[in-house]
């Protein structure tokens, strides 16, 4: 009974939905789930700047909108520039005495293409200038809304329409995934974190922490895409859990340059479990899988070294530790 009591989830979160139902995301969209969790954590007092991408497409089809908070659509390449402009304009109007400071927060939303490929220079500039904003990258590992084209965030071995599998190219994507959180860390910004909607409380805590911290904050959110990854829609959440448990996408926070692993598994699962569930990896040979496994272990060990076996202290860890490591 005690366990059941602890598992009562809705007590921890608001029932307010600032991202309205009726959006037209694909069935089982992990990104829509992530946006819903992020919006629950953000609350009403925000201005969202949204780059082109899946989110913008499915949330704002004329004449409908899913947003119950102020929302601006920008292009792929300038979400960093627009969010810094909005923030500066707000500050300038306060300085001139035109408006009162109501503690409005500024948030940038973009996909992995809008972050690591096209929008990188605007984001880099915004982080370098030190604007006070939170940037959420929803990483579904390819350009999904235009039809599954590869991005620099696509992992090694994944099939996409522009990295197809054929007789000559038998692996699909031939390059490794760009480590976007590390690029954000290199800007020496106060807060960088990775999150996944399969761990909802961890995600919401990270969004809140990113908002509270003064200065730029970067949050990289792993968003499962059943359409583009060729997997059944019901395993969206399971895949999000597997990617963390296999160490392919570890959850961590970098607060003022200090690494903290949000959840550390004493023994990582084999990447095979994650890869075999998705059609985009079905062509991989044993040799390729071993290569991916070796790379994942190497990267995870590096990260663990940086965190020096420390786990994130604080409410986030205590509240959801049981939920995260629960045997399911």
């Amino acid at each position: 009974m005690e366990q059941e009591e602890e598992l009562f989830l809705p007590r921890f979160i608001t029932t307010e939905e600032n991202f309205a139902a009726g959006h037209r995301a694909c069935i089982g969209c992990g990104e829509a789930l992530a946006v819903r969790h992020v919006c629950k954590a953000l609350g009403k007092n925000v201005i969202i700047v949204n780059a082109t991408g899946c989110i913008e497409i499915y949330s704002s089809l004329l004449p409908y909108t899913s947003w119950r908070v102020p929302w601006i659509h920008t292009l792929f390449e300038n979400v960093g520039a627009v969010v810094s402009g909005v923030e500066s304009a707000y500050k300038a109007r306060i300085q001139k005495g035109k408006i009162e400071d109501r503690g409005v927060k500024f948030v940038g939303f973009a996909g992995d293409g809008g972050t690591s490929d096209i929008g990188l220079q605007a984001l880099s500039g915004a982080m370098e200038r030190g604007h006070d904003f939170l940037y959420c990258c929803f990483d579904n590992e390819a350009y999904m809304n235009t039809g599954i084209q590869r991005s620099s965030s696509t992992p090694y071995g994944a099939w996409t329409t522009t990295a197809p599998v054929g007789k000559k190219s038998i692996v699909g994507q031939t390059t490794w995934k760009k480590n976007m959180p590390e690029i954000a860390v290199a800007h020496r910004i106060p807060y960088v974190a990775t999150a996944c909607p399969s761990y909802p409380f961890d995600l919401m805590d990270k969004v809140k922490r990113g908002m509270e911290i003064e200065g730029p904050a970067y949050l990289h959110i792993f968003s499962v895409c059943p359409t583009g990854w060729r997997c059944p829609p019901e395993i969206t959440v399971e895949i999000g859990r597997l990617v963390v448990e296999t160490g392919i996408f570890p959850l961590y926070e970098v607060i003022n340059g200090e690494y903290h692993l949000s959840v550390d598994f004493p023994k990582l699962k084999s990447v095979r479990e994650y890869l075999k569930k998705q059609g985009r990896f079905r062509h991989l040979t044993e040799k390729d899988i071993e290569r991916i496994q070796a790379r994942v272990e190497e990267e995870y060990e590096k990260l663990r070294e940086r965190a020096s076996q420390k786990t994130a202290k604080g409410a986030s860890q205590n509240k959801c530790a049981k939920f995260m490591t629960m045997d399911r």
């Binding site: 009726g22 089982g28 004449p63 409908y64 969206t236």
Partner: protein, 100 residues
Amino acid sequence: MSSEKKGWKDIEIGCVVTEPGSAASYKTGDWRSERPVRDNTKCIKCGICYIYCPDAAINEDEEGYFEADLYYCKGCGVCAHECPRGVITMVEEEEEEGEK
């Protein structure tokens, strides 16, 4: 809530959207090929289905059970897959008059 499609004459000048969250009136339930059916005797009211619903279709009723709103439910089956007690089963949607 009306699921009637709007024509160009119903759109505001400049394509301004005047109502926040107006997508809530858009029916996505007709995408569904499988509907979630609940057996509330097994339910422990944990709310895992509520928190993992990508479409925000699951709401708590007065008794504390979580019921899917079939107006929005796209039938992804995440709730059935994640439920720790196996309360939810996905049943194939049948062609009914008024439903489709």
